[in-house]
């Protein structure tokens, strides 16, 4: 996003921070499922969780330009941490969430030292390799993770001691939505800060940033850790609301899916991951009768079309449309 006129950075950031009416309308609309589609609250909860996961990928991929094919590692790590804590007798959701976030963040911090050293193909391969390593480790350690059968025996206590996690997903959706909104506020504040500008600078030119006094590796480590925390929270939410954890949370397929979701919505835009998650998950739910093979046919076609015709995702395409309409008026 190039600035059309030269403005002071402070003023630019202040303008970005102001809430637009359409944003407020969007977040109010997230409450509609309670009224309009009360039978789909479980799906809505999954959408919120996926959106949070996509938002965390957006921080590193959309803003800092770190292409990761193994982001599910943090999602799954958070998921297993939350699941194991509950299985071992502490089913309180909020503390479980915090502990899972801390665990995923610690893993993210350790790996960020590796991530910050590499670019391009080596980086893609290392993220892929680390993700696969963790998935294989979880598969081997079946005494801990339950292996291919998934983690059984996760029992959650009621939220705040009042709201039980029911079959209809009312608590699950409220819980996931509130957590998503809080994480979104954090991400929004982060992106519209000088730190967020530095991240975009790294995405555009990783070599020039240190030259103007912004240390790229330090910034990358920071944002990677934050993204890992968010991915861990998303994974923990999934474990707590479904009361089970499967190996699929760590799989390459999940890393690829979230990448597709983010690109579909528009990387480098705060709402890109959320919009992508809504479209992707609703479409998958509608076509769930379809053989998964054919589902991937359409996803693949969509990906090719998005890359060729809509390089900035759906939101990017819409923004371009709006701009050209304004230009004509």
């Amino acid at each position: 996003m190039a600035l059309s006129t030269v403005t002071e950075p402070q003023r630019y950031l202040a303008a970005q921070i102001r809430w637009q009416p359409i944003e407020i309308a969007f977040w109010l609309a997230t409450l509609l499922p309670f009224v309009l589609t009360p039978n789909y609250l479980v799906l809505a909860s999954h959408i919120a969780i996926t959106a949070l996961f996509a938002l965390s990928l957006d921080l590193i991929l959309g803003y800092a330009g770190i292409v990761s094919l193994g982001h599910a590692a943090y999602f799954g790590f958070g998921s297993y941490t939350a699941g194991l804590i509950a299985k071992w007798g502490w089913g309180e959701p909020l503390t479980g969430l915090v502990l899972a976030a801390a665990a995923a963040g610690a893993l993210g911090y350790v790996t960020s030292f590796i991530i910050a050293r590499f670019r391009h193909l080596a980086l893609i391969m290392i993220t892929l390799g680390l993700g696969l390593l963790l998935a294989e480790a979880a598969n081997s350690a079946s005494w801990l993770t339950g292996g291919a059968d998934g983690l059984q025996g996760v029992r959650m206590w009621t939220l705040f001691g009042v709201f039980p996690f029911d079959l209809y997903g009312t608590t699950a959706y409220s819980y996931s939505l509130v957590v998503l909104f809080l994480a979104f506020l954090v991400a929004r504040r982060l992106i519209n800060s000088p730190f967020g500008l530095a991240l975009r600078g790294i995405r555009e030119n990783a070599i020039r940033m240190p030259a103007i006094g912004a240390p790229s590796p330090a910034h990358i480590r920071k944002v990677y850790t934050i993204a890992a925390v968010m991915a861990g929270i998303a994974g923990a939410l999934l474990a707590q609301t479904t009361e089970t954890v499967s190996l699929e949370t760590l799989s390459f397929a999940r890393s690829a899916d979230v990448l597709v979701i983010l690109i579909l919505g528009g990387a480098g835009r705060l709402y890109g991951g959320i919009v992508g998650a809504i479209i992707y998950m609703v479409a998958r739910d509608q076509f769930s009768g379809m053989n998964p093979q054919y589902w991937y046919f359409w996803i693949g076609t969509l990906l090719i079309a998005v890359v060729i015709f809509l390089p900035n995702g759906i939101l990017g395409g819409m923004a371009r449309l709006v701009r050209s309409e304004r230009g004509r008026a």
């Binding site: 892929l128 680390l130 696969l132 390593l133 093979q293 054919y294 991937y296 693949g300 076609t301 060729i308």
Partner: protein, 287 residues
């Protein structure tokens, strides 16, 4: 069953040679154009299905089906290169990844639609089945055949790169694309031909792989990771690097499966990450 160390070495080397044929094309095209082509194994899968079709449906002999697999993969890949890939030569790694992953998704779905989700059967001629005993050791006849073909291909590739005019153009384009253009080399044409050759080799690899690792609709995904490991570890644009990396990978994977079956694929991923952290540009990479 504890296999003899020599047997593991032999099987692992044969497996590594298979990975080499599958990945060498990707290594050269990646080194030349920096185009991250994750759909490379889709072309390999195409070659595999072509072989299955012409041998089972049309009754061709296995050996005669191999050139068909090569040619069909090469022709289809050129069509893709002209229509889709060339639009993204200057684009980011991410866009290239996404486009080609999209192609992988589509190819996997199309393969499942046409052939179903089962392992494809293949009838080998009798002289490629069974074992051959040399100096008291017995070797799988097919694996010997595979190693023979791979070494012949390696020699032909190295000779073509070193001693032909076209090979010199390829090397120039890999070393410095802009400079090669400045010297009047039509890099786009060189690239298209190299791309077709590389994909054709992948198709051949896919056909040869059926007997060793099987062929089903998910081949393009399963072996993508192995091929990427070979390319990344060997270094972009390096045939020698791919050869060494593929051998090491094949042998360590086979040894891991025999001696530490409980670790699964953990070992090769670990080897890859460790090697890449030691040398991010690969064993033989220069850039």
């Amino acid at each position: 069953m504890i296999a003899s160390a020599f047997g593991v070495l032999f099987d692992g080397f044969a497996y590594g040679m298979l990975l080499f044929i599958l990945s060498v094309g990707l290594s050269v095209t990646l080194g030349m154009m920096n185009f991250v082509n994750l759909a490379h194994c889709s072309f390999a899968m195409l070659g595999g299905f072509v072989t299955v079709t012409v041998t089972n449906e049309l009754g061709w002999p296995f050996l005669a089906s191999l050139p068909v697999a090569f040619l069909s993969a090469a022709l289809v890949s050129v069509a893709f290169e002209r229509v889709l890939y060339r639009r993204l030569y200057g684009a980011s790694d991410l866009d290239q990844c996404l486009l080609t992953i999209g192609i992988v998704f589509v190819s996997v779905a199309v393969a499942a639609y046409i052939y179903g989700t089962i392992q494809q059967p293949l009838n080998l001629p009798p002289y490629l089945r069974g074992t051959v005993s040399i100096l008291g050791q017995s070797f799988g006849a097919y694996r010997l055949f595979l190693i023979g073909i791979s070494i012949a291909i390696t020699v032909a590739l190295v000779a073509a790169l070193e001693y032909t005019r076209f090979g010199a153009q390829v090397r120039a384009a890999v070393d410095n694309q802009r400079m090669a253009r400045g010297l009047g080399i039509d890099v786009d044409r060189v690239f298209a031909v190299t791309f077709a050759l590389g994909s054709g080799l992948a198709g051949l690899g896919g056909a040869l792989a059926i007997e060793i690792v099987g062929l089903d609709h998910a081949f393009a995904f399963t072996y993508l990771i192995y091929v990427l490991i070979v390319v990344a570890v060997g270094g972009l644009g390096s045939i020698a690097g791919s050869f060494v990396a593929a051998s090491v990978l094949g042998i360590s994977d086979m040894a891991g499966k025999y001696y530490f079956p409980e670790l699964g694929a953990f070992l090769i991923y670990f080897v890859m990450v460790a090697l890449l952290m030691w040398r991010p540009m690969g064993l033989f990479g220069r850039r």
